[in-house]
Amino acid sequence: MLLIHCPYCEEARPEVEFVYGGEAHIARPVDPSTYSDEQWEEFLYIRSNPRGRHHERWRHTHGCGRFFNAVRDTVTDVFETTYKAGEARK
């Protein structure tokens, strides 16, 4: 089980308190009606799925309830850092 540092609670808590929220920094369409099929495909379905550094969202569901971002190595599962939603990509 992962130990995850919540940047809001400023505490490392067990994974069962958190829900994984998928890849981070995927921006919603600003003007959806102008989006082409290719852009929708890219936004909805295409994921980077890297072997190594992965930017991802987590939600501290059984804690503060807030979303935050994390950088985790997908080979070792070690967290490099976690940071608050809205902060620049690390």
Binding site: M1, L2, E15, V16, V19, Y20, D37, E38, W40, E41, L44, Y45, I46, R47, S48, N49, P50, R51, H54, E56, R72, T74, V75, T76, D77
Partner: protein
């Protein structure tokens, strides 16, 4: 290849079995091939076998980063079934089940396909309605599936607790009698041996490091750890690593890789006659011919390539198993392991051509690729030989994520695939 037969077995008995040749020789890569398969799991070896056997392309190499059958082929729970809801899925998975039948004879290798039946338990009203819908849909597609009452479930699988007072009461079950299990390693070895006998080169410990494309964008060959190999037809069957291989050709795929765990108990005498799946509590179990209970758990919630999963996932599954089968509460578990499964947004595979000419893909089988091994191999081979998908795998194209024609088995089959 020396055929396995009663006659040869008796002959070898007089020679202390010293005359059996190796199943498949270790080959060094040639400078070029007519077709290359990336990934020597069951699917990839199956594709190589059918390319040589059915479609007449024998100058084929299967390139594997690790060892043959060492990925998800060697890490699954060996369940075979085809009771999927949608027409496209029923056709795809039943194509595989039809090939499983007679595969031992076809390969001259005992893959131990055992039609012991797959029983899917219903624990609530929604399950009952959903499974009955599945049964009707399956029957319309010619796939056998029948409804059992709790008493009939108990008669079919005696260790089951059908008392209404349990935490997960059994309200009935859907039984596919043609479903069952096969010996996963034998499947990989059988395909490797038979393909090798037809002239296929199996190259292990040789990772693909790049895919070279010509001026027109078409595939020209693959870069490997053991040098460049020219080839105009490359089929990728790399399961959890498909995203990485596809990036070498400049393609981004709608895939995410998750760890999926399974575990086995200490071996005991035969007690468990069939495969039981419970989607609601997410547990499935069968007993191997060695006597171990083979138990499948769920995926972890996060993407990973670590080939190991979290302990609380296993704990959750075992808690459910102990509720449904109180007889097993004192069983000890011997081993757990994890594999990396490539999951698509609609939980259906991608099997066909890619935007790059000469590059074909078989991926996205998620948590349930083993059951499809012969079918996926055959269809990938067909697609590579004809440069056109077969009508069974035509719906499983990449375009569906653009035109919205998804095959949404995620909702249809709940969590267990």
């Amino acid at each position: 290849m020396k055929r396995f037969s009663g006659f040869n077995l008796i002959g070898e008995a007089f020679r202390s079995h010293q005359g059996w040749p190796e199943h498949w020789p270790d080959k060094a890569p040639k400078a070029s091939y007519d077709a290359i398969i990336v990934g020597a799991g069951g699917h990839g070896l199956g594709a190589a076998y059918y390319l040589a056997k059915k479609y007449g392309i024998t100058n084929v190499a299967v390139i594997e980063k690790g060892w043959l059958g060492g990925g998800n082929t060697g890490r699954n729970t060996t369940i075979i079934r085809s009771n999927y809801l949608y027409d496209e899925s029923a056709h795809l998975y039943d194509h595989a089940v039809k090939l499983w039948d007679g595969l031992s004879q076809d390969l001259n290798y005992n893959i131990m396909y055992s039609k012991r039946g797959v029983l899917m338990l219903a624990h609530n009203v929604h399950d009952v309605q959903s499974f009955k819908r599945h049964i009707h849909a399956n029957r319309l597609n010619g796939v056998d599936n029948e409804w059992l009452t709790p008493e009939e479930c108990k008669a079919y699988c005696p260790p089951l607790d059908i008392s209404p007072r349990t935490r997960h009461p059994v309200l009935g079950g859907a039984l596919q009698r043609r479903g069952g299990t096969a010996r996963h390693d034998s499947v990989a070895w059988g395909y490797a041996r038979a393909a090798s006998a037809l002239g296929v080169d199996i190259i292990q410990n040789c990772a693909v490091t790049g895919i070279r494309r010509g001026a027109d964008g078409a595939v020209e060959g693959v870069e490997t750890e053991r040098g460049y190999i020219a080839c105009r037809r490359v089929g990728v069957s790399a399961a959890g690593s498909t995203s990485l291989v596809m990036k070498m050709a400049g393609l981004d795929f709608p895939l995410e890789s998750y760890p999926l765990q399974a575990l086995v108990s200490e071996p005991v005498k035969p007690i468990f006659p069939c495969v039981v799946m419970s989607n609601t509590v997410h547990a499935y179990m069968s007993q191997s011919d060695k006597g171990e209970l083979v138990i499948g758990a769920g995926t972890d919630q996060y993407t990973s390539y670590s080939q190991r999963g979290a302990f609380h996932i296993v704990e959750h599954t075992l808690a459910a198993i102990c509720e449904i089968f109180p007889i097993f509460t004192r069983m000890r578990m011997l081993r757990t392991w994890g594999g990396i499964v490539d999951v698509t947004p609609d939980r259906s595979p991608i099997l066909g051509k890619t935007p790059v000419k000469g590059l074909y893909v078989n991926c996205g089988w998620g948590t349930g690729g083993f059951k499809a091994t012969p079918g996926a191999g055959d269809l990938l081979a067909y697609t590579m030989a004809h440069d056109e998908p077969h009508k069974i795998n035509a719906p499983y194209n990449l375009d569906r994520f653009r035109n919205g024609r998804l095959i949404d088995e995620a909702a249809a089959a709940a969590v267990a695939h």
